[in-house]
Amino acid sequence: MMQPVTESPNGKGILVIGGGIAGMTAAIEAAETGCDVVLVEKAPYLGGRVSRINQYFPKLCPPTCGLEINFKRIKNNARITVLSQAEVAEVTGTPGDYRVTVKVSPRFVTDACTLCGQCAEVCPAERPDEYNMGLGTTKAAYLPYAMAFPAAYAIDRAACKEGCTACAEACAYGAVDLAQEPEEKVFEVASVVAATGWTPYDANKIDNLGFGRYPNVVTNVIMERLAAPNGPTAGKILRPSDQAQPKSVAFVQCAGSRDENHLPYCSAVCCAASLKQATYVKAMDPAAEAVIFYIDIRTPGRLEDFRTKVVEEQGVELVKGKVAKVEEDPVTHDLLVTAEDVLGGRKVTRRFHMVVLATGIVPNTDGLPAGFTLDEFRFIAAPEGKTGLYGAGCVRRPEEVSATVQDATGAALKAYQCVVRSAHHG
């Protein structure tokens, strides 16, 4: 079993909460300076939201290669301890000298797992596929996704049938251990980095846009899963009502963001994300219509060129005017989208096969250990005075993947400074 980190030659270590792109980056960058790092991830896998993306903008390449490099850096670095299905229960102490209590839930599958899949084969129970935004189901014995790290199946005991041990009996390697118990571990570290990421804004709350009522209104995060080759439709964008390929897709910007009634702030990534997703639609069928309804298209810096390219080369249409009404044709399940075309000065109602709501970023700060200060929008605020608690990535502010990686690298440096100070004073 993994041992709690104590004093290392370079002082105490660092604990990182969250194993998405921000947490992995902070953990790796800190460990590669020579300090010990504990990486605590709630899910049974690392990679978080980035692993669910089909392509990055603006390069339009899949996230797999970047994730693979990071997994390899973690695997090859003995200083990083990865705890999956683990949550931080408490942080006490002062900068340079924190005591962190971590609760680790059992995976019920040991390192002996070879990914043969026999457990899932025989498993009689199903669970909603959380990884695919609930678009399908998996067995209760499941591999979160093809390149999941740690590379082992997991068993969702809450979904198991009463008294069932089929998986344990089927496993030829004795890797299924249904007797595993939850554990509590305590770590003494110099600094804690929270990289708990974000959750998409609940589109059900935007009652005029039809999500949850009309099957063909989806969110941008669902669109990523529909377009991803390892997603529920194997990378074919099919609309939910009839699994047909949509010939017209409307993208509704600021679905909840920049809105006092929902999220008052700009979520920063949705404009470029919708431009990117419009290219998915065009790649599938160049004759398909992709229309982005916007208040302002916010594509700063290099994203400006991306926008120009998508609009001019791919024929994606931009309409200035926020969509405030989505209705459904009950027969075809097509959607009637109404906006004021501000530049044309009239109201337009257009029919689409599918509508994608560009929902925004809600920081995962509920349940964060005491000591972190939050700003007015519940993101982790910039630290004031002496601290050893830092935020990294989207829990700190809405940002794209590349900015998140830079942010996490910066957080690793700040955390490392605490380590060095603790070595001198300890």
Partner: protein
Amino acid sequence: MAEAMTIRPDVGFIKDVLKSGGGDLKKCYQCATCSVVCNLSPEQSPFPRKQMIEAQWGLKDRLLADPAIWLCHNCGDCTSRCPRGAKPGEVMGALRNQAIQHFAAPGFLGRAVSSPKTWPLLFVPGALVFGALALWAPKEVTEPREFANVFPLHVLEPLFFLISGLVLLAFAVGLARFVKALRSAGANGAILAGLIPAFVEILAHKRFKECGKEKNRYWGHLLTLWGFAGLAFMGTVVGIGSMVGIMHTPLPFWDPAMPVESILKLFANACAAVILVGGLILLGDRVLNEEKRRTTTYFDWFFLLTIVGVVFTGILSEVLRLGEAVTAMYAIYFVHLVLIFALFVYAPYSKFAHMLYRTVAMAAMGKR
């Protein structure tokens, strides 16, 4: 879009809009949610998104000549859906307030009536007139318990006809200015021909019905308008009848020998009750709803409270008269007269005027 346009912001106008209920105007970032959620906003020239930016830019002439500001019936859907809290519904109300002041003749009365600072003064002329009337006018004591004992009809009636004449004149000037502005802004519907369909639409309250959020406003406004129309008709008939000597007030509640008078009396009382119910619905709406209470301006309160006050004191005077509470009945009737005076004399300058401006704007817009 093609031709170049020089923007000359009228900064004073922006400030006036901000002060008269449109205080959150500057928060608007032009997303156009408002134009979509508004059930009354037409496809080809949606509002209020465009009016919001015009107001931010201080385009006074353009806005005051824009019939769209009168097509808005202030249901508040845009305000509750606005992602910025810019309250487009309140801005439209402020623009209507500005339009009434702008077109009013004489202009100083427009400014005085809309300013919260002057409100107690607004009741002084009425109080002086009716005070003088009570003290010095020669009385014609006919029978006891008649208001005419203190406020003689032979003075009251010509006085109110004179006031009505002046008010109509002021309205005529204001409306003439408004129509001229509408024409110059390109609203070229035939106004006279459009009046009939506009009346029908207004009496049926079709637009109020389409207004999304607040259903009780439909009933509140409908009852107030119908009751008011009924009383205006009654007042005119009885006023003329009594001036030419074929009617004598107070009309009897029920007298088989005077069936016409009895019916008129019944009708008038019914109208008063209807306005009171409608007015209280509208008042309750603004008092009980915290959001509405905060956004209700002095301009709204003055009109609404005056009209409710007129009806309330009217009914109370009648009750006191029937109850033979002589002193109280004259006192309340005095208040009633002062309030009526304020309602009528300031009609062209207060929110009262929306009745005429909206009708003309709807007529000028032609059929939807």
